[in-house]
Subunit: 113 residues, 2 copies
Amino acid sequence: MSARDLATRSCKDCTPGAERLEDAQAAELHLQIDAAWERAADQVIRRVFTFSNFREPFALATQIALLAESQGHHPDLEVSWGKLTVTFTTHHAGGLTESDFVMAAKIDAFAPT
Amino acid sequence: MSARDLATRSCKDCTPGAERLEDAQAAELHLQIDAAWERAADQVIRRVFTFSNFREPFALATQIALLAESQGHHPDLEVSWGKLTVTFTTHHAGGLTESDFVMAAKIDAFAPT
């Protein structure tokens, strides 16, 4: 599956009821998203965006929040002056599911590099 | 100074160049804001708002972000499903200044109780 394929999938196709990915499956999907996404403790994926004001990280958080509502899959968003941290996990699965990577790929499609 | 007075002040009056508050001064201002604000390690004030969806905490974060831009004093905002955490400190002063309490009082004026 390419990153382009991943970004075109819908989170609604894979949650609820999605099973937590095996580590090898997560590693494979991790290769399909921007290298700036870190996978931590096999539980979450996280990307940090840096800026030189408050407006731009909040604006990006807003784009992500609207996407999250439309997909029904929500990140943790931490906004501070000059920085946005986006974290995904799937709580009901107790770790990473395909939806987390689908969201990451969708964000990669509009986020600054 | 009452909470009403505090909320009507402008952060622009007190930063930049504001000095870090002495602990007794911070304690006095802390009494003027909603009791839900916690003061941690004499460095920050923090309030957690809980909800039962993602939309409402993000909407409140947006109201606070717009206020922060207008005042030129910015919090850390952490949004997740059902929760918003707002944290203020004044980095250039290395701790709490009056502006942090002014922002808290302004937020109290429109935030859900």
